[in-house]
Symmetry: C2
Subunit: 88 residues, 2 copies
């Protein structure tokens, strides 16, 4: 079944304490060369049937009302491959 | 500066309470046709200079040691556009 991916990230002008914590930990772990880290959320939404414009519009509304806080977060909606497995 | 994106998702065989909570809320909000929701994390890592294989290898190690728990999560590493802004 098709998977729609919603990425939710803190807006650029919003402080991101989680990202800063990761960024602060990197040098202590021996990693260098990283100038910024932002942490957000990723949702993989499996939908029934075809991904039509109406379905994408519905996912857009889900993202706006449930998955993100539009005051402090931006989001993107896109269609992933049917077997959108994340592989390590 | 180039941005490397790390997506961290719970492994398919692992229960995902956050995703299930979202899935359970959708019908109450009037959304139908969603068969599954998985919630994970997305990191945008800004690196200095060029994204070489060595840099990607280093980000891979960060993902494995700091950004994910390899026992319960899979991750993917990919290069995003330089101005990888997420737009609502």
């Amino acid at each position: 079944m098709p998977v729609v991916v919603v990425d939710v990230m803190p807006k650029p002008e919003i402080l991101d304490p989680q990202g800063k914590a990761v960024q602060g930990a990197l040098p202590r772990l021996g990693f260098s060369g990283v100038t910024d880290v932002r942490q957000g959320k990723r949702f993989e939404i499996t939908v029934e049937g075809e991904v039509t414009d109406a379905v994408l519009e519905q996912v857009h509304q889900m993202a706006e009302t449930l998955l993100s806080n539009p005051v402090i977060e931006n989001f993107t909606v896109r269609v992933a491959a049917s077997d959108a497995g994340t592989v390590a």
